[in-house]
């Protein structure tokens, strides 16, 4: 599913502020999968991620009259989900997380008939590994940019840092991934 564009989200934000339930439902349908994926990247469990995102939408409706028209609603949602995910990790720090992530992670997403040894599947597995080895903040900024399609100002808002720092994180992340990628290519094509 494509991420809804900024203009669409702004329109929904205006209608939700006026208590339009249909706009709320549309926003929910458009944003839910991405937000669950984002929350699950912290909690490593789909069920807790789904709970966090549902809580976030309940809060959004309850505070709909305070939606700030100067602020990206997308950033607002990602910020709440991020904070709640981090709280969740803090509260469950000493539990062994049984992850349903790994099972889901093994499923080839785009083409189930594809040979799992296919080079593109191997490559995306490597990328997953490289991304997970990035420093935490770089990883967060990179994922928000690459996977969730947020712009640098939105990411700055979500992570509570400056847009300049977001830029630095993403450049650093890309530069590390590029090094890993070059090295990988040299190994497989000596």
């Amino acid at each position: 599913m494509n991420q809804p564009n900024d203009q669409q989200i702004e329109t929904w934000a205006r209608e939700i502020r006026k208590s339009d339930r249909k706009a709320f439902d549309s926003l929910f349908r458009a944003m839910y999968p991405g937000l669950v994926r984002f929350a699950a990247s912290y909690t490593r469990e789909k069920s807790s991620a789904a709970d966090i995102v549902q809580d976030t939408f309940v809060i959004l409706w309850q505070k709909r009259e305070q939606i700030d028209s100067n602020r990206s609603l997308r950033a607002f949602l990602y910020q709440i989900v991020r904070n709640r995910s981090l709280n969740y990790l803090r509260d469950h720090a000493n539990e062994t997380l049984s992850s349903d992530w790994d099972d889901l992670g093994r499923q080839p997403s785009h083409n189930p008939s594809e040979n799992p040894e296919d080079s593109s599947t191997v490559l995306s597995a490597r990328f997953r590994e490289w991304i997970s080895n990035l420093p935490e903040r770089q990883q967060e900024a990179f994922k928000l940019s690459r996977f969730e399609g947020l712009d640098h100002h939105e990411i700055a808002d979500v992570m509570n840092i400056s847009a300049k720092t977001v830029n630095n994180h993403i450049v650093a992340a890309l530069s590390k991934l590029k090094d890993e990628y070059n090295q990988y290519q040299n190994q497989s094509n000596p």
Partner: protein, 315 residues
């Protein structure tokens, strides 16, 4: 990767920070890294709908979804019951035309929904029904929050009502469902006038009960399966269809919610300890709400006063 189609290139400002000869590699890194996201947990359309439903239920239970009723229609009701039924019918019919998936009746009104297969659904004040756009061609599946009396025409597709964690499955029959998401324990009561239905918790079809003419049963979240069917006082259960009230050992909280919906008022109960005590009372058509409140207060030793949008009951 269809999921990342919107995001095929890194931000142009980002690319500028690398040397020209690195651009191709960065572009490739950007493209390939997108595939890494595709393997994170997927969310199916039905999961989205279920999640949205849960959010609706939570907002309804917390009162955040309560919409102000139609005051003009409420005024007309006090004078011309039949006119209101007609207005409500038009309202529901136009709802059907423009938003084919939802039908709801405002507070203060009762309305009849006529389905394309000839089945009719009389809906009590504040009731919402969601049904498939393709009704009755692919299925006759619907969701109920509230109270409604169904007259179901026979059809090759079974008629299935989902109501707050329960399922009622029928072929051709007449029956009443009362299932409010704000009722303690999500209690759902089903009463059959004639015909036969299957009644079971949504998560366990094997726990079904068969209900026939003049039988009723109920389920709440503490029960594994619905209660053993009993002979129903159908006249009492169906009193709402004639704008009457019959409260049979009903909790004060539940009675006040019925009154809120029927009269489109808000009633504040400042004496929480009586909320779950029960009452039995009968009222004929067009009884004034204050008559009912007076009776409740007399029995429970309380008083009430009018507020801006309803009433307050206090000690």
């Amino acid at each position: 990767m269809s999921q990342q189609n919107h995001n095929n290139h890194p931000d142009s400002g980002i690319l500028k920070q690398f040397s020209e000869k690195e651009h191709t590699a960065i572009q490739e890194v950007w493209e390939h890294s997108g595939d890494a996201a595709g393997n994170l947990p997927g969310v199916s359309p039905s999961e989205i709908e279920e999640a949205l439903n849960d959010v609706h239920t939570r907002l309804e239970m917390s009162g955040d979804f309560r919409s102000p009723g139609d005051k003009i229609a409420g005024w007309i009701q006090r004078h011309h019951r039949i006119l209101v039924a007609a207005v409500a019918l038009i309202a529901v019919t136009s709802l059907f035309l423009f938003v084919p998936k939802t039908a709801s009746v405002p507070y203060g009104e009762i309305a009849t929904l006529e389905m394309p297969d000839g089945s009719t659904i009389e809906m009590n004040s504040g009731t919402t029904i969601l049904y498939s756009r393709l009704y009755p061609y692919t299925n006759r599946h619907m969701e109920l929050n509230g109270e409604a009396f169904f007259t179901v025409e026979e059809h090759s597709n079974p008629f299935i009502v989902e109501a707050n964690g329960t399922i009622i499955e029928v072929t051709g029959t007449r029956f009443n469902i009362r299932s409010w998401s704000d009722e303690p324990g999500l209690k759902t009561s089903v009463t059959v006038s004639d015909g036969q239905i299957l009644f079971y918790p949504a998560q366990d079809r094997s726990g079904y009960r068969v209900l026939q003419d003049d039988e009723s049963s109920f389920w709440n979240i503490e029960m594994g399966r619905p209660a053993e069917p009993e002979t129903a006082a159908a006249d009492d259960v169906l009193a709402w269809r004639e704008h009457r009230f019959v409260f049979q050992n009903q909790t004060v909280l539940s009675i006040l919610r019925d009154l809120e919906r029927r009269y489109d008022v808000e009633i504040e109960l400042a004496v929480p300890e009586v909320a779950f005590s029960t009452l039995t009372a009968y009222y004929s058509q067009n009884v004034h709400i204050e008559t009912i409140l007076e009776d409740i207060c007399t029995v429970k030793g309380l008083r009430f006063t009018e507020t801006a949008n309803g009433y307050r009951i206090f000690d």
